[in-house]
């Protein structure tokens, strides 16, 4: 106790920061806790350096001695640091600090928070600070203060506000009827806002799944439309793309560590080239001989996929390989308190749309695209007009496989990379092709995003597996109506 009084003396502005640090270092853990609580209640800008260092376990940036901390002390340091950061000039720092205080503020800090709230100029910080204060005021003794706090909490969409309000509505926790009713209305408000956030989150993950399905199915739709064969090894092209990304990552790390941030960009052309090359090779050696026999092609390409999977398993091992996100793809954008949009998924949605756009341009604005469309519509007639159908087949197959390779690069940034990667997406991408119709970019686009969103919306309601089964049933019913998919080519040919 004597030491504690001494500490209070030292808290006088005359005392230097270093002394406080020394004192903290010498104190016993429970005295350290008391110190931190006092500091948090009466912040002083001069102490910011000390607290920042304490967070790293030191008393000063240039001091090598370690401070022994336990979890309680770490929590208190975070709290004290946040309340000091409220004095900062940077509004971002103040906002982050106010958010931290929403979780950790202590009753002793009420007076200080009240003062800061009155002098705060930035609207966002003010709102966050008000919420932190409201959390504390729920325990205030006057009903009017509690009432105001409850109303304030109702205006946020924060999961924490829900927990606090629910705790308040527990029997016996609140005796004032006015506050109770206000808490009930606030709870309803908060829950509505949370529901919006959840729904948006599900829609976003649906879009994200859809963009991946799109990348997986786009090439499949092109080759199916052109050649009338389903390439069962298409999933393995995704896998090859993902493994190319892994190889590029390893090579860049070894030979050009400075460029590691941009390895996914380097991986894009590599993955495209690898998958397209292998695709064209397969087309020339195996699939070409099976035209007109679609069911046999199914089996032969399945055989190819078995060989590719086993080859990768022998080369790289059966375990997943580690593909890391560069810094600019990690983290996310906080939109609502319970909605974070990861950057990698946003980039992939944009990337998928860009690939669709490029493919559309390629098919509609180039000579090759013209030939591909001609052969898709009528192979014999195109051949009569001088289109080298064999060459078109090969190039289109390479294009389809290459797009899958690009999809593999995208997949490597959001999921595990292992030999079975392609297998987990192939059935879904078949369904996209069935639903969207053959050789149709627009059909694939709608079908992929539609399937992705419906999948993710159904998942929390009835579970992932039942959702998948329901979707399959829906597709079977759907093709009763439109056997040729969403966007069918009109034709009068009958076999």
């Amino acid at each position: 106790m004597y030491r504690f009084l001494l500490a209070l003396l030292l808290l006088l502005p005359l005392a230097g920061q270093a002394n406080e640090g020394e004192f903290f270092l010498a104190a016993k853990p429970n005295e350290q806790a008391r110190l931190l609580q006092d500091w948090a209640a009466q912040p002083d800008l001069a102490r910011l350096g000390l607290l920042t260092s304490l967070k790293q376990g030191r008393i000063a940036a240039d001091d090598t001695r370690k401070v022994r901390l336990n979890n309680r002390l770490r929590g208190l340091i975070d709290n004290a640091l946040a309340s000091h950061q409220l004095l900062s000039d940077d509004s971002y720092v103040r906002l982050a600090a106010a958010r931290q205080l929403q979780k950790s503020a202590q009753p002793a800090q009420v007076a200080f928070l009240d003062r800061r709230l009155a002098s705060e100029a930035d609207a966002a910080v003010q709102a966050a600070l008000g919420l932190a204060l409201a959390n504390l005021q729920l325990a205030a003794s006057e009903p009017s203060v509690r009432l105001a706090a409850v109303r304030l909490l109702g205006e946020t969409g924060d999961p924490q506000a829900r927990t606090r309000l629910q705790a308040l509505l527990e029997p016996g926790a609140e005796n004032d009827p006015a506050v109770r009713t206000a808490a009930e209305t606030s709870l309803v408000q908060v829950q509505r806002k949370l529901l919006i956030g959840e729904l948006l989150g599900q829609a976003f993950s649906g879009l994200s799944l859809g963009s991946i399905l799109l990348l997986a199915a786009l090439g499949l739709a092109i080759t199916f439309g052109l050649l009338g064969v389903i390439n069962m090894a298409h999933g393995e092209m995704l896998m090859l793309g993902a493994y190319s990304t892994y190889m590029v990552q390893v090579l860049v790390q070894r030979f050009a560590p400075g460029a590691i941030e941009f390895y996914p960009l380097i991986a894009l052309p590599v993955a495209f080239a690898v998958s397209a090359g292998i695709g064209m090779l397969l087309e020339r050696t195996v699939i070409r001989h099976l035209y007109g026999r679609p069911l046999e092609t199914l089996l032969a390409t399945w055989g190819i996929s078995l060989i590719l999977i086993q080859a990768i398993r022998l080369l790289f091992g059966a375990q997943n390989v580690e593909v890391s996100n560069p810094a600019w793809l990690s983290g996310g954008l906080q939109v609502l308190p319970n909605l974070v949009l990861p950057y990698n998924r946003m980039v992939i949605i944009g990337f998928a749309l860009a690939v669709v756009l490029l493919t559309w341009l390629l098919l509609n604005r180039t000579r090759l695209g013209l030939n591909v469309r001609a052969v898709t519509q009528n192979r014999n007639m195109a051949a009569c007009c001088g289109v080298s159908t064999g060459r078109v087949d090969m190039l289109a197959f390479g294009l389809g496989s290459g797009i899958a390779g690009l999809g593999g690069v995208a997949l490597s940034q959001v999921g595990n990379v292992g030999p079975d990667l392609g297998q987990s997406y192939i059935i879904d991408s078949f369904l996209v092709v069935v639903l969207g119709g053959v050789g149709q970019l627009a059909g694939s686009l709608w079908a992929a995003f539609g399937l992705g969103i419906v999948n993710k919306l159904l998942e929390p309601q009835i579970g992932a597996v039942l959702g998948k089964i329901l979707i399959l049933a829906l597709i079977i019913l759907f093709i009763q109506k439109r056997p040729q998919g969403l966007f069918a080519l009109k034709g009068r040919v009958i076999d």
Partner: protein, 359 residues
Amino acid sequence: MNQPLLVTATRKAGPRVALAIGAVVVLVLLALPLLSLLPADHSLQVSAYTLTLVGKILCYAIVALALNLVWGYAGLLSLGHGLFFALGGYAMGMYLMRQAAGDGLPGFMTFLSWTELPWYWVGTQHFAWALCLVVLAPGLLALVFGWFAFRSRIKGVYFSIMTQALTFAGMLLFFRNETGLGGNNGFTSFRTILGFDIASPGTRAVLFLLTVALLLASLYLGWCLARSKFGRVLTALRDAENRLMFCGYDPRGFKLLVWVLSAVLCGLAGALYVPQVGIINPSEMSPTNSIEAAVWVALGGRGTLIGPLLGAGLVNGMKSWFTVAFPEFWLFFLGALFILVTLYLPKGVVGLLKKRNPA
């Protein structure tokens, strides 16, 4: 090509030789279970392992035969026959689990702390109802799926993909613990069937003989089918469905009948497979298994009666040897088999034999 009959094959290979070989094979198959009953030190004794292996392959041969009915004759490549096989197996497995559990709940349910049986388990303690389920579960599923699929004239690659998605969905469903069918462990540790010890040599021999009987029966069925007008219509359907329709036939009924028949045969094969092998789990429904069945048929020669049996025997025989001798290379071999058979053996081994023996 348009005469997809055993008749053609045997006529060209020399009917007597073919008949003789067939008779010898059947005799050997009938003798195997009897030999397994011999004392263990006898030189002609067949081990339980061999008997189980051959029994398993025979079950697969029935699946191949069933798949050939729809693929070889009607031109519908199903990549989901593993689902029907597993459904039959599960129906039998339910009965066996009830036998093993006595009056209590099956072990996995007590493990999940369930207190009563789900509704679909009602009556499974009776062998007769289990047999009905063996037929009904795959049959009804095939009926519903087939009715919708053939109504909208889904065929070719579309049909294959839908069946594959169907078996994939089934696998996911059966993997869940909440489905109440054992989750990913499936059913195992059976004890008795109709009161007989399931592991005793006598029961094994009887089950084996039943499998041979079912195989011969389905072979006979296929033979009758191929010779009948029904078989001819199916072949016509495979080769030119539109022309058949212009001739005044409605293909839907024909397709549906052969499709359901094939599914039921698969279910029966599954029901015989489970007590012999002693386990059934959802991985039987994986798309890989079903597509492997397609290569049995393709290797043996589709549209022929004997071909699928040959194919199933060859591939599974090689598989059990390969997976012991060179486990890493089995998939390479299987993959190569898929490619080579489709590229160079469009009519399978039977086609090859036919070429060798031009009559």
